[in-house]
């Protein structure tokens, strides 16, 4: 066991830290997901990272990567440092491109598709959205109804997707469809990459509880060439499972919990309310320490998974589900704690006089609900651990 980065990795981490301090526009900080008005800033920032070869560090050279031999932890370190710098939104975009879609495409995609898309992805020229869930298919993704009808060289795709975050700013939709007529459940599904501007695609933005934007995607006989099929036709479910484990690991990164709480603890150190130092109050001290310890557990699980995925063939299904589940468990608990300690000040929102930490925690209280559902809800992830990890029997649906 060694909980240190290698000298190469450490040097890379400090380089990323300096790079972010120097090149990252302030406007990108403090967002869970990047909205349309900041996309051009974000793409310019990602482009600078891509120019340094960082997006494709672990990818083979023939697809525009650096070969990946030197440092298996590059992707992990990049995401970690982005969270450290309060850039969760950028980390999410990056993990769509590299962590989830790039890696899954690399593993299962056709040579033609890899040659066409990966070099442009690793150069930060393309944006993606993940298009799985539907109005009637949330946790139960195997029940989707969006259908792809075989029409010669193309699929004709019709259906409706819901909660497709970043669809409005994407170039491609990573779309789960039912490609085999008459199939049920997880048999007969496929993943296709659909250009977001194709005729028949309609994208409507709507707002979540605290102003976070997400989208509804309507598809009406959208004609997608079959070469945009990802992996094997009809094997979408197994590709999806792999992609989901990567998603839970990278997008649902535990640093998105620990780093904001770290900033909160820093605030507590210096805060005074009515002349009383918060850090001198034994109740405050005990509860901050208690949450700090709980959060340490999640960070450790994240780290275990990160270290194990340095082996590209390792899919951290259980570790990822544990991180996601635990992050959901703490979502409201940590927000409650922070708001209770800040008292009424904590309720002041961004832009209000006297709002501590730019009103971050008042906003977080609304966001916390979102954390319960993204990338599979808390109980779905517990089911994965129970059935795949502990070997408990499946329950009858």
């Amino acid at each position: 066991m060694d909980f240190r980065y290698t000298p190469d990795e450490q040097e890379f981490r400090l380089e990323v830290r300096r790079f972010i301090a120097e090149h990252c526009p302030r406007e990108l900080k403090g967002f869970h997901e990047i909205h349309a008005e900041h996309v051009h800033l974000e793409m310019a920032f990602l482009k600078k990272m891509a120019d340094r070869g960082w997006l494709g560090a672990a990818f083979p050279k023939e697809y525009g990567g650096l070969g990946g031999e030197r440092m298996p932890m590059v992707e992990y370190i990049l995401i970690d440092e982005l969270h450290h710098a309060d850039l969760e939104g950028v980390a999410v975009t990056l993990t769509y491109i590299v962590g989830i879609i790039g890696n899954t495409l690399l593993q299962v995609g056709s040579e033609e598709l890899k040659k066409e898309l990966l070099p442009r992805m690793l150069a930060a020229e393309l944006r993606f959205a993940i298009s799985y869930s539907e109005p009637d298919s949330g946790n139960d993704i195997a029940s989707i109804r969006t259908r792809a009808v075989d029409d010669g060289d193309d699929f004709l795709i019709t259906g409706q997707k819901r909660f497709i975050t970043c669809a409005d700013t994407s170039d491609y939709l990573w779309t789960l469809v039912r490609s085999e007529a008459g199939s049920v459940r997880h048999k007969g599904l496929s993943i296709v990459l659909m250009r977001s501007n194709l005729p028949g695609v309609t994208i409507q933005v709507f707002e979540m509880m605290n102003g976070i934007q997400t989208c509804e995607v309507y598809m009406d006989e959208v004609r997608v060439p079959k070469r945009y099929l990802v992996g094997e036709r009809g094997q979408g479910w197994s590709h999806l499972m792999e992609a989901l484990a990567r998603e839970r690991m990278t997008m649902i990164n535990f640093k998105a919990v620990s780093e904001p709480f770290e900033r909160f603890a820093q605030w507590v150190r210096g805060a005074e309310i009515d002349g009383e130092r918060l850090a001198a109050d034994p109740v405050v001290r005990q509860s901050v320490a208690n949450m700090h310890v709980k959060i340490a557990g999640g960070k450790m699980m994240q780290l275990i998974a990160g270290a194990r995925t340095a082996d590209k063939n390792y899919i951290p299904t259980l570790e990822a589900s544990a991180c996601k589940m635990y992050r959901a468990m703490l979502s409201w608990e940590k927000a409650n704690l922070a708001l209770d300690i800040m008292r009424s000040q904590g309720l002041l929102t961004e832009g209000s006089p006297d709002a501590p930490i730019e009103g971050w925690w008042a906003a977080e209280y609304g966001w916390a609900g979102h954390e319960l559902s993204g990338a599979g809800g808390m109980d779905l992830n517990r089911k994965i651990i129970a059935q795949q990890g502990l070997g408990l029997p499946r329950w009858s649906n």
């Binding site: 066991m1 060694d2 909980f3 240190r4 980065y5 290698t6 000298p7 990795e9 450490q10 400090l14 932890m73 970690d80 450290h84 603890a265 820093q266 507590v268 150190r269 850090a279 001290r285 005990q286 901050v288 320490a289 208690n290 700090h292 310890v293 709980k294 340490a296 557990g297 999640g298 960070k299 450790m300 699980m301 780290l303 275990i304 990160g306 270290a307 194990r308 340095a310 544990a322 589940m325 635990y326 468990m329 109980d379 992830n381 517990r382 089911k383 994965i384 651990i385 129970a386 059935q387 990890g389 502990l390 070997g391 408990l392 029997p393 499946r394 329950w395 009858s396």
Partner: protein, 392 residues
């Protein structure tokens, strides 16, 4: 970054697991409770043969020179079968304090005997607060005519009556700084003036309150430097705490395994109860927390081995594992239904040990105050930059 065991560690763990599985079937666990000293002496002798009782001592003292992390891995295996033994008090606390602070003569006379499984020592440090804190020590040792005279009361001393030697921590000098003025004394457990008040504990481990009434010892009984015991004791207690986290992880996992296997066997409403989502949710959550605690413990032990500042990590691990082990063992008891509450329930030793060890070497509340001091009173460490740590 590497979170895997080395080949040597894996071999050690595998052979320990195999040995303990063969020597400790569930039925014997409940039999141990009926033994006079509540631990299996024959097994202790076998553990000594395998080198476990001297594992962390150097080979010059009859040991194997294992790192703290290795010892935590070994202790986890003992925890998985809820094996009670004097390993904490004798090997990890009293013996190790002698190793770190004692004279060559003291080390030579005591440590090989501990490693051989022949000598039990008790560690008389804790007083009424049960906190592993220098300020807790009120017992005094006055120098009179070249001899020390000890007076005071030590609480919760494990295996006190069974031990041959007792390591007593006493205050030799009053000081504004409670970490100054402490001294360790090596005393014959039958010395005049020592009285034992046997205590009956939740986990059935033998403990006693030790009354020290004008106990007289020669200056040769001092272990380490007079007035400066804390510089030895603090790291010894820190390491023992990190290693104990391994044992507690084992306790949590042993109970969890019982709960999982019972949930697969027990049929109600026409199906195994483990098929119910409510049961799956419990067991999945508990698995996740046990795994987190397991690695927080390894991390703390590893930091100590590397000489990297570790106080926050040790207290974080002890707190996390303390809560997780209690939760896991309570869950295992709960999932066994009425059976879990019967007199001879197989989950009971795990349930009792988790709670007892949660209070041992500082409970969760104590360690939370340590964590609070580290994160709220000190400047942020930036250890990640200094030591290249990936856990930040």
């Amino acid at each position: 970054m590497d979170v895997n065991l080395t080949d040597e560690q894996q071999m050690m763990v595998d052979s320990a697991r195999e040995f303990l599985r063969d020597s400790c079937p569930l039925a014997t666990i409940r039999e141990w409770e009926k033994l006079p000293d509540r631990y299996p002496r024959e097994l202790w002798a076998k553990m000594a043969e395998m080198g476990w009782t001297g594992a962390i001592y150097p080979d010059t003292c009859g040991g194997m020179g294992l790192a703290n992390l290795d010892m935590a891995l070994l202790m986890r295996e003992m925890g998985r079968v809820a094996l009670p033994s004097p390993i904490l008090s004798t090997v990890l606390l009293a013996g190790r304090a002698v190793l770190e602070g004692g004279s060559e003569e003291q080390k030579r006379s005591l440590l090989p005997r501990i490693a051989a499984g022949e000598l039990l020592m008790s560690f008389a440090f804790t007083e009424a607060s049960a906190q592993p804190d220098a300020a807790t020590v009120k017992t005094t040792a006055r120098l009179e005519n070249g001899r020390y005279v000890l007076n005071g009361v030590k609480h919760f001393v494990e295996f006190a009556e069974q031990a041959e030697q007792v390591l007593v921590v006493a205050r030799t000098r009053e000081s504004d700084d409670p970490e100054q003025g402490l001294t360790m004394f090596l005393i014959d457990a039958r010395a005049p003036g020592i009285e034992y008040v046997p205590l009956r504990t939740l986990a059935l481990q033998p403990q006693a309150k030790i009354l020290l009434k004008n106990v007289q010892v020669d200056a040769s009984a001092v272990v380490g430097r007079v007035d400066h015991a804390w510089s030895v004791l603090d790291p010894v207690i820190q390491a023992a705490t990190a290693i104990l986290c391994g044992y507690m992880t084992g306790i949590a996992e042993g109970a969890h395994e019982l709960a999982v296997s019972y949930s697969k066997e027990r049929v109600q409403y026409g199906q195994p109860i483990g098929a119910f989502q409510a049961i799956q949710n419990y067991l999945a959550t508990s698995w996740a927390k046990n795994t987190m605690g397991e690695y927080l413990g390894y991390y703390a032990a590893w930091l100590i081995d590397q000489g990297i500042p570790s106080r926050e990590a040790v207290s974080t691990a002890k707190t996390f594992v303390g809560y997780a082990a209690v939760e896991s063992t309570q869950l295992a008891t709960q999932l066994h239904g009425g059976l879990g509450a019967t007199a001879d329930a197989r989950t009971t030793p795990f349930l009792r040990w988790a709670k007892q060890l949660q209070q041992t070497l500082g409970n969760c509340q104590y360690h939370e105050t340590i964590v609070a001091a580290e994160i709220l009173d000190k400047e942020p460490t930036r250890f990640d930059e200094k030591y290249s740590l990936a856990f930040t």
